[in-house]
C-alpha cells in the first residue's frame, strides 16, 4: 500500500480531524485509489469525505435515503449482523412513518426512530470497521490550500443544511482527485469491501431478507422458471421420486416480511445416477421439477444483481453487464448425510469463459470442488475449506449472507483450535485442576519434584476435549501418551461416563495402562479408574469385532464410554485386519495414540477416518475413498507405491497457480495432534551414534552378491528413487518441463520386483545375522563398559534389537560368552530366557525360568496383596518381567528383544545403550521406536545408539550398496516426508488463510492485476502508480 502525503486538514473541523486521525499512521494518511473516474460514473451520486453530523430526525428524515453504509475488512460478522438488524429496523420504521395517514400521531414512531438511530450512530462511532457515508457530499483531494477551502465549503454546506452539531466521529472518507480525476478512499479501518445505500444494506444484512418477495416475482417469469427446470413433468412422474426416499420435506424460502410473501415448497431428495450427491427437488408448485438450491440461487442472484447495480462494482466495470459470479449456499445429501455447502455460479457469457474453464480445472483437481452436471461449467459446489481457491480463480464476486456466514462459521471453527491452546484455556488441565494425581514424582535427575502434566500433555488433553474426546495423537516417544490416555479417561469419568473404557494395545503391552494408573494416580483414584478399564490386545479386539461378541457377550461399541487405541501405528493400514477392525468399530469417542509418526497420506486418512467413525472400507464409503485417492494424487508425489514428498503448487492455466499445500497442512493441523521430543518441557539426554561397520569377507561377499542377483535391478531402482527422487540428474536443478527420470524409476518391473523382494530380502537379512556380528557387538559393549568404568560411571546396560526371533536367542547366548559372569536376557514374544556364560539359566532369584505368560508378583514367596505385593495379571507378564525383574537386577547386562513385540510400549530407561543388530524393517520410525525404549523421559544418562551394518569390502559403484545401506536411504525418505507433513503443519495458524479470503460483495483492490484483468474486471493495483492509474484509465 502506498502512503502519500495527505493535505493538512486543520481547517476542516473537529469531525474531519477525527477521520483523518484514524487514517494516518505516523503523520501520514494512507490513500488507496479505489477506482478511476469516468464521466458517467461521476454523474452518479458522488460521495465525499462526509462526517455524518447527526441523524437528528428533526432536520432530515429523508437522509435515510441518501445514506450509505461502507464496510471495511475490519468489520466482524457480528458487527455487520448487528448493524444490519438496526438499519433494517430503521428502514422499517421510516417506511411506517412515511406511510402514516396525514394528521396521524407519529410522535411515538419518531421517538422510536430516534432511539434506533442513536444506537446505530453510536455503534458506527465505535470504530468497528463499519461506516456511514452520505450520497451528496464530496471533498476533492487537492493541494493543501484547496483542500482546506473545499473542506471548509463542505463544512459550511453541512451547517447550512441545518445540522446543529457534529456528533459522529467516524466516517468513510471518499474523495476525488480533481487533477487526475481519480476517486480515492481513505482507509481508516481497513480495505473497503462493501459500499451500499443504507436501505439496500438493511435489505441485504437485515435480520430478515426478502427472498419470499423475490421468489414471488421469479415465479411469474416463465423463461426463468423454465431455465431452472431439471426434470420435466413426465420425468417427475417416473419412479424415482415416487419411491419413498425419506419423507417429503417442506422448505420455506426464509425471511418473508409477511405471510403473503412466504413460499413453502414440498421437496424430496433426488440424485441422478451421474450426480455425486443428492439435492432437494421441488416436486410441486411453480418451481416443480427444479432443484431447490437453483431456485434459491436464482432468487439470490436477482437480489444481488440489484445490489451490484447500486454498489460500486458496476461503476468499476461499466462495460460489463451487471452479472458476476455469485456464491450462495446449497444443501446436499452426501453419503446419507445432509450438508450445507457453498455453490458458485459463474456467468455463462463469453467474458467469463476463462474463469469457467479455470473453475472446471479446479474441480478436476480438488476433491471437494464438484462441478454440477449439465451446468456447462457454470456451477460448482464446494466446501468452505476450498473457498480461498475459488476466490483465487474468481476474485470479484457477490455472495449471499448465508454463504458469508458459512465461511465465517468455518473460520470460527478453525480458530477454536488455537483458542483452546491459550495458557488460560490450559489451566483447567493442570494436575491440580483435574485432581487425583500423586503429589510428587522423580525427575530425570533422580530428584523428587511436584507432579505436573507437561504443557504438551495439557494441550493434547485440551484438543481431545474440544473435539468431543476424540483425536489422533502422535507424541514423541516418552512424552507421556499413556498418561494423556488415563487422564482423558479420568476426565470423561468425572464428566459422568460410567461405562467401561476400552483400551486396545499390541500383544505384550496389556500392563502399561494399569501400571501407569497406579504409578501416577493416588491409590484410591487409581483403583476406581483401573476398575473401569477394559484392556484388550489388537488380536482379541479384531476377533471380537468380527464375531460381534466377546466371551459369549455381545461386543458392541455402545457398551463402552470411549476407546483408546494404543500404538495405533500397527493398525493404520485399512487393508489389514487390525486397521479394518478400528474402522468398523467406529466409536464416537475414539482416541488413537502412537509415538510413531504416520506421514504416509493414506495412513493419515485412515487414522482420521477411524477417529471420525467413518468406515472407509464399507461400500457406502466409495465416494470417500475416491475423494481420498484424488486428494493424495493432488498433493503427493508417489513413486512405485511409495510416497516420496509433497508436490506443491500446480498451474490451472498460464499464470494462475494454485497451491493446495497449505490446505493439506491445515487439515493435518486440525485433525492430528503431533509433538516431537524437541517440543517437550524436558530435554532428552545426549545421544551418541556409533556405527559398527563390518566389511564382508571375500567368501561372504560372493555369497551375498549371488543371493542378491535376482533383486539387483530392483535395488538400484529403489536407491535411485529414494535417494534421487527418480531423477536421472539429481544434481542439476529442474528449470522447466518434466525432469528426466532414471530408467529404473520408470521401469514397471521395479514395482513387480519390489513385490517379490520379500523372500530374498528375508534371506539376505538372515545371511547377515551372523555370529561374527554378535561377537563384534559383544566386544564393543564390553569396551563401552570399560569406558564407563574409567569415567567413574556404573557400567551401562544394553538393549539389543532384532526382528529375527532365532537371532534373539543367539544374541543372548553370544553376549553371555563375550561378557562373562553377567546375565543376558533373550526376550521373545512367548518366553524370556536368561543366559550366563553361554548357558540358559533355570532360575533367577525366586523365579523359575523361562518367564512365560502367567500372573507374577514381586515376591512369589509371599501372598499377594493390593499394595506392596500386587499380583500382575498374566496378560501383563512381559512388562512385569522387564520392569520388575530384569530392570531391577543390576547384573543383567544385555537384553536382546524381538523388535515387533518389544519396540513399542516398554519404558526401559534402566538401559542406556541401544544396539540395532539389524534393520529388518522398512520404517525409520520403527528404528526410532526401538531407541526410544531407552532414550525417553526419565533417562538419566547419555544414550549410545549402535548400528551394526555389513558393507561390501569392494563396492563396484556408488549404487553398489548392501541392504542395510539401502534401508538407511529409505529412512531418510521417511524423515523427509514427516518434515513436509506433520512437522510443517505445526507452524500453521488455523483459519488465517480463510480469514483473509472471506467472502464479500466487494472488489478486492489488493488482488493482483493480471488475475483481475483475466476476469475482465476493472482494477487498480494497491499502489497509485502512474502505470496502474493509466492502465485503469485505458479500460473501456
Amino acid at each position: 500500500m502506498a502512503l502519500i502525503k495527505f493535505p493538512a486538514f486543520g481547517t476542516i473541523g473537529a469531525t474531519l480531524h477525527t477521520a483523518v486521525e484514524h487514517a494516518k499512521p505516523a503523520g501520514e494518511a494512507s490513500v488507496i485509489p479505489a477506482w478511476a473516474p469516468k464521466a458517467e460514473a461521476l454523474a452518479r451520486p458522488t460521495r465525499g469525505l462526509e462526517a455524518l453530523a447527526s441523524l437528528d430526525l428533526g432536520v432530515g428524515l429523508s437522509d435515510i435515503n441518501e445514506m450509505r453504509i461502507v464496510l471495511t475488512d475490519a468489520a466482524k460478522p457480528a458487527t455487520i449482523e448487528r448493524v444490519g438488524q438496526e438499519t433494517h429496523r430503521l428502514v422499517r420504521l421510516y417506511k411506517e412513518l412515511t406511510d402514516a395517514q396525514p394528521g396521524a400521531d407519529t410522535t411515538q414512531l419518531e421517538e422510536e426512530m430516534r432511539k434506533v438511530a442513536k444506537g446505530l450512530t453510536s455503534r458506527l462511532a465505535g470504530q468497528k470497521g463499519v461506516f456511514l457515508s452520505k450520497n451528496d457530499a464530496r471533498v476533492d483531494l487537492v493541494a493543501p490550500e484547496t483542500a482546506a477551502k473545499q473542506a471548509g465549503a463542505v463544512a459550511d454546506d453541512a451547517q447550512g443544511a441545518g445540522r446543529r452539531s457534529a456528533k459522529v466521529a467516524t466516517a468513510a472518507a471518499v474523495a476525488v482527485d480533481p487533477i487526475t480525476g481519480e476517486r480515492v478512499v481513505l482507509q481508516p479501518m481497513g480495505r473497503v469491501v462493501e459500499d451500499l445505500p443504507l436501505t439496500r444494506f438493511a435489505e441485504l444484512h437485515g435480520e430478515r431478507s426478502n427472498r419470499g418477495a423475490e421468489a414471488k416475482i421469479l415465479a411469474t417469469d416463465k423463461a426463468a422458471v423454465q431455465s431452472m427446470r431439471t426434470l420435466s413433468d413426465a420425468e417427475l412422474d417416473k419412479a424415482d421420486l415416487r419411491k419413498p426416499d425419506g419423507p417429503i420435506e417442506y422448505v420455506t424460502l426464509t425471511g418473508a416480511d409477511g405471510t403473503d410473501q412466504t413460499f413453502t415448497y414440498p421437496t424430496r431428495w433426488f440424485k441422478k445416477p451421474s450426480d455425486l450427491f443428492a439435492r432437494r427437488m421441488v416436486i410441486e408448485g411453480p418451481f416443480r421439477g427444479s432443484y431447490l438450491d437453483d431456485v434459491a440461487s436464482k432468487v439470490d442472484e436477482a437480489s444481488l444483481s440489484k445490489a451490484t447495480q447500486e454498489s460500486r462494482l458496476l461503476w468499476l466495470s461499466p462495460k460489463k453487464s451487471n452479472v458476476q459470479p455469485v456464491i450462495s449456499t446449497v444443501q446436499v445429501r452426501e453419503a446419507g448425510e445432509v450438508k450445507t455447502k457453498l455453490r458458485v455460479r459463474i456467468p455463462s457469457t463469453p467474458d467469463w469463459t476463462a474463469v469457467r474453464q479455470s473453475q472446471a480445472q479446479l474441480a478436476k483437481a480438488l476433491p471437494d470442488v464438484k462441478q454440477i452436471d449439465d451446468s456447462k461449467s457454470t456451477m460448482f459446489v464446494f466446501d468452505p475449506t476450498n473457498f480461498a481457491f475459488i476466490k483465487k480463480v474468481a476474485p470479484a464476486f457477490a455472495s449471499t449472507k448465508e454463504a458469508q456466514l458459512l465461511v465465517d462459521g468455518h473460520v470460527d471453527e478453525l480458530l477454536k483450535f488455537e483458542k483452546a491452546l491459550t495458557p488460560e484455556a490450559l489451566r483447567k488441565f493442570s494436575a491440580r485442576a483435574i485432581g487425583g494425581f500423586r503429589e510428587t514424582t522423580v525427575d530425570n535427575q533422580g530428584r523428587i519434584q511436584p507432579f505436573e502434566l507437561s504443557s504438551i500433555q495439557r494441550s493434547t488433553l485440551a484438543r481431545l476435549e474440544m473435539d468431543g474426546w476424540r483425536g489422533a495423537v502422535t507424541l514423541g516417544t516418552g512424552m507421556g501418551k499413556t498418561l494423556v490416555g488415563i487422564t482423558a479417561m479420568e476426565m470423561m469419568a468425572k464428566g459422568g461416563e460410567k461405562r467401561p473404557f476400552l483400551v486396545v494395545v499390541p500383544d505384550g503391552l496389556e500392563g502399561n495402562f494399569p501400571a501407569e494408573i497406579y504409578a501416577k494416580r493416588t491409590p484410591e483414584t487409581a483403583q476406581r479408574l483401573a476398575d473401569q478399564l477394559k484392556v484388550m490386545t489388537y488380536t482379541e479386539f479384531r476377533r471380537a469385532v468380527k464375531k460381534g461378541e466377546l466371551d459369549g457377550q455381545p461386543f458392541d461399541k455402545s457398551t463402552f464410554g470411549a476407546v483408546i487405541y494404543d500404538e495405533v501405528h500397527i493398525a493404520t493400514d485399512r487393508r489389514t485386519a487390525n486397521g479394518a477392525a478400528i474402522l468398523k468399530f467406529g466409536h464416537e469417542h475414539t482416541i488413537e495414540m502412537t509415538g510413531t509418526p504416520q506421514p504416509e497420506p493414506e495412513r493419515l486418512q485412515a487414522m482420521d477416518a477411524g477417529v471420525r467413525g467413518l468406515d472407509l472400507n464399507s461400500p457406502e464409503a466409495k465416494a470417500d475413498r475416491r475423494k481420498a485417492r484424488k486428494w493424495r494424487e493432488l498433493l503427493f508425489t508417489e513413486v512405485n507405491g511409495v510416497t516420496t514428498g509433497v508436490k506443491g503448487p500446480f498451474e490451472l492455466r498460464r499464470g494462475l497457480k494454485i497451491d493446495p499445500t497449505r490446505d493439506m497442512l491445515e487439515w493435518i493441523r486440525s485433525r492430528f495432534i503431533y509433538a516431537d521430543n524437541l517440543k517437550d518441557d524436558v530435554a532428552l539426554p545426549k545421544r551418541t551414534d556409533v556405527h559398527l561397520t563390518l566389511p564382508m569377507s571375500t567368501v561372504f561377499e560372493d555369497t551375498y552378491r549371488k543371493l542378491a542377483v535376482p533383486v539387483k535391478t530392483a535395488l538400484e531402482g529403489l536407491v535411485s528413487i529414494y535417494r534421487d527422487q527418480g531423477l536421472a540428474n539429481p544434481t542439476e536443478p529442474v528449470t522447466s518441463g518434466r525432469p528426466k527420470l532414471t530408467p529404473q524409476a520408470r521401469d514397471e518391473r521395479v514395482r513387480e520386483v519390489r513385490k517379490s523382494l520379500k523372500t530374498p530380502i528375508a534371506e539376505l537379512s538372515k545371511l547377515t545375522n551372523t555370529e561374527e556380528k554378535l561377537t563384534q557387538v559383544g566386544k564393543a559393549l564390553l569396551e563401552k563398559m570399560h569406558e564407563d568404568e574409567v569415567g567413574g560411571l556404573p557400567a551401562s546396560r544394553s538393549l539389543l534389537f532384532t526382528d529375527d526371533p532365532k537371532y534373539v536367542q543367539e544374541s543372548a547366548r553370544v553376549m553371555s560368552l563375550r561378557i562373562p559372569g553377567k546375565l543376558h536376557a533373550a526376550c521373545m514374544g512367548d518366553r524370556i530366557d536368561v543366559y550366563q556364560n553361554g548357558e540358559k539359566l533355570s532360575s533367577l532369584g525366586p523365579y523359575k525360568l523361562p518367564f512365560k505368560e502367567k500372573a507374577y508378583r514381586p515376591d512369589p514367596s509371599m501372598p499377594a496383596n493390593s499394595t506392596t505385593n500386587r499380583e500382575v495379571p498374566a496378560d501383563q507378564w512381559r512388562t512385569f518381567v522387564l520392569n520388575n525383574v530384569l530392570g531391577q537386577h543390576p547384573e543383567v547386562s544385555t537384553t536382546t528383544l524381538f523388535g515387533p513385540t518389544y519396540q513399542t510400549g516398554q519404558n526401559l530407561q534402566w538401559a542406556s545403550t541401544v544396539v540395532h543388530l539389524d534393520r529388518d524393517t522398512w520404517s525409520d520410525f520403527n528404528m526410532r521406536q526401538r531407541e526410544a525404549r531407552s532414550l525417553r523421559r526419565g533417562q538419566t544418562r547419555p544414550v549410545t545408539v549402535m548400528h551394526a551394518d555389513y558393507t561390501f569390502a569392494k563396492p563396484q559403484s556408488t549404487l553398489d550398496r548392501t541392504l542395510d545401506q539401502v534401508r538407511e536411504l529409505q529412512a531418510k525418505n521417511d524423515r523427509g516426508l514427516l518434515q513436509q507433513t506433520l512437522v510443517a503443519a505445526q507452524d500453521i495458524k488455523l483459519g488465517e488463510g480463510l480469514k483473509r479470503a472471506r467472502p464479500s460483495t466487494a472488489f478486492d483492490v489488493n488482488a493482483p492485476l493480471p488475475a483481475q484483468n483475466d476476469l475482465g474486471s476493472f482494477a487498480l493495483g494497491a499502489s497509485p502508480t502512474p502505470a496502474n492509474v493509466g492502465q485503469a484509465r485505458a479500460m473501456p
Binding site: E789, A795, I819, P820, G821
Partner: protein
C-alpha cells in the same frame, strides 16, 4: 597377570593373599573390572575362565566372612550366593 594362568594357579594366588586382607581387596578390585575382563577375553580366556576366577574371589570373601569390595564389574556378593 600378564598371561593366562590355569585356575589352580589362581587358587593358590588368592590363597596367598589371605594373609594380607588389603592385598586381597586390591586384587579383587583389579580383577573385578571391565578392563580386566576385557583383557582376559582378548587374550583368549573363555567366559567360564573369567567366571571361575571371579567366583574364587567371591567364595574367598565369603569363607573369610569379609564383605567383598562394592561396585566393580560384577557383584561378588551375588556371585558368592549363586548356587
Amino acid at each position: 597377570m600378564s598371561e593366562l594362568k590355569p585356575l589352580s594357579e589362581w587358587k593358590s594366588f588368592i590363597k596367598e593373599l589371605e594373609a594380607d586382607p588389603a592385598e586381597l581387596y586390591a586384587a579383587a578390585e583389579a580383577a573385578n573390572s571391565a578392563q580386566w575382563v576385557h583383557t582376559m577375553m582378548e587374550r583368549g580366556a573363555t567366559a567360564h575362565d573369567v567366571q571361575a576366577v571371579l567366583e574364587l574371589f567371591a567364595q574367598r570373601f565369603k569363607a573369610l566372612g569379609f564383605v567383598p569390595p562394592a561396585g566393580g564389574y560384577v557383584d561378588l556378593g551375588w556371585l558368592a550366593e549363586k548356587p
